[in-house]
């Protein structure tokens, strides 16, 4: 039973024809060739497949795309790591991760950057504890998290600076 499912991927309307119980992760990787969404454990343990989902009521949150059925995504907006940069200009969170050397093998990076984006969208001034909590569903087996934490601290400042300059 295949079904036509329409949603928005990085601000572009997409239509896929597949079974509504196929996971969002598989649709993104197999049907739409968005392999920037990583398949780590496929059971919600590692967070490598994290995407941001924006509901019809504009509420957005990060979640594991391996645990979302594509039928549940109908009409919603999905953001992957490819949706963050503006052409060649990287997002400040991406810049911070590079500057702080928070990337080694890079497999967890898209997920970690997206949970950071979601955190800062909802809470521009997170405490250290709130940062640690926000990234606790995303595993990194290279860096030991110290550099990731430093990158997020840096990103908070950068994002704030950009927001303030836009206000003027």
């Amino acid at each position: 039973m295949k079904k036509k499912i329409t949603f928005y991927l990085n601000n572009e309307k997409v239509v896929v024809k597949c079974h509504p119980l196929k996971t969002l992760l598989k649709v993104l990787r197999e049907d739409l060739n968005h392999t920037e969404v990583k398949n780590g454990c496929e059971q919600g343990e590692c967070g490598a497949c994290t995407v941001i989902i924006e509901d019809e009521d504009k509420k957005s949150f990060a979640t594991n795309s391996c645990l979302v059925a594509i039928g549940q995504v109908e009409g919603k907006k999905i953001v992957t790591i490819k949706g963050l940069n503006k052409e060649k200009e990287l997002h400040p969170i991406q810049k911070s991760f590079i500057d702080e050397g928070a990337v080694q093998c890079g497999f967890c990076t898209p997920g970690l950057i997206l949970v950071t984006k979601s955190l800062l969208d909802n809470n521009p001034n997170p405490t250290d504890e709130e940062i640690k909590y926000a990234i606790s569903g995303n595993l990194c087996r290279c860096t030991g998290y110290i550099k990731i934490f430093a990158a997020i601290k840096k990103a908070i400042k950068l994002v704030k600076k950009i927001r303030n300059s836009k206000k003027i």
Binding site: M1, K3, H19, P20, L21, K22, T23, E42, Q43, G44, E45, G47, T50, F61, A62, T63, N64, C66, L67, V68, A69, G71, Q72, E74, V115, Y133, A134, S136, G137, N138
Partner: protein, 294 residues
């Protein structure tokens, strides 16, 4: 080719029970954080099952206050529950549990109804809901019934539900507080890492107290018996008493009497027995700001 079960996505409860097939095993798809894993692991008889996606049914997402109760729709996710002010005010044990529930990115999707229906003895919401004397509203076609939460579980991952039974809401009684008394609550668990813990053992406590005087207390434990257990004998020991070390020690003995932990891939029976007692001491010490360890 991968085979998938039948799939329905009703927009209202009325539509749901109109479309529900009678000859298939019904799986309600809520947040999907457990069920999609079962599907992937081939634990579902795909040919003879129907997945009914609840994500479009808006009438299952609400938190309301009535005269005597707080009512929570079954499709409320854990992140919403964690932030809700009515819940914070009336049921601190729920808020405490949400903070350690799974991971934040799973909390964004996982629902309270799903956690109950999954019926795992280590389901984090269950001991908390036991301590709050929660009632569950269940609908099936034109019938509605209300059951006490401790009556619906019959074993690990087993409920007394009939095919098609749908949890629609939780009804949790508000406590009437006399002057000077407040409602306190806590949830603690032990597992393999700090985040994303599937409990080796867990405990929930809800109480009405004034300093170290306990008016009423409920204690429930998870993952140390085939179902979650509410330990009524502890309530008998501690209700209407000023808390002291002797009473706390007696309470620990009651926990050891009623639990029947097992060895499994996650932990051992002996460890669970020891650690659940420690969890009780840690929780009661934290709630009443006194060290009951020694």
């Amino acid at each position: 080719m991968i085979y998938y079960p039948e799939y329905l996505q009703p927009k209202t409860l009325e539509e749901l029970f109109k479309e529900l097939p009678k000859n298939k095993k019904i799986y309600y798809l809520a947040g999907g954080t457990d069920l999609l894993n079962y599907l992937r692991d081939e634990l579902v008889d795909k040919k003879n099952s129907c997945f009914v996606d609840l994500s479009k049914i808006k009438e299952l997402v609400f938190i309301n206050e009535t005269n005597k109760n707080i009512e929570i729709g079954s499709m409320v996710s854990f992140n919403i529950l964690q932030e809700n002010n009515l819940v914070k005010k009336h049921f601190p044990a729920i808020t405490s549990m949400c903070k350690t529930f799974s991971t934040p990115i799973i909390s964004n999707r996982a629902t309270i109804g799903g956690n109950i229906a999954n019926a795992s003895p280590s389901g984090d919401s269950l001991p908390v809901l036991y301590t709050l004397n929660t009632k569950i509203e269940i609908k099936n076609f034109s019938q509605t019934r209300i059951e006490d939460i401790d009556k619906i579980f019959v074993g690990p991952k087993k409920t007394n539900f009939k095919n098609g039974d749908l949890i629609t809401k939780l009804i949790i009684p508000k406590q009437v507080l006399q002057k000077g008394f407040s409602i306190i609550g806590i949830f603690k668990k032990v597992g393999g890492r700090k985040s994303h813990i599937i409990s080796k053992a867990s405990i929930a406590i809800s109480a009405i107290s004034k300093s170290d005087y306990i008016k009423k207390i409920n204690v429930a434990v998870g993952a140390v018996a085939p179902t979650v257990l509410k330990i009524n004998t502890i309530s008998e020991i501690l209700n209407n008493k000023k808390l002291n070390k002797k009473l706390v020690k007696d309470s620990v003995e009651e926990i050891k009497k009623v639990i029947s932990p097992i060895d499994d891939f996650r932990s051992t029976a002996n460890y669970r027995k020891e650690v659940v007692s420690s969890l009780f001491l840690e929780s009661i010490s934290e709630l009443f700001k006194f060290n009951f360890y020694d």
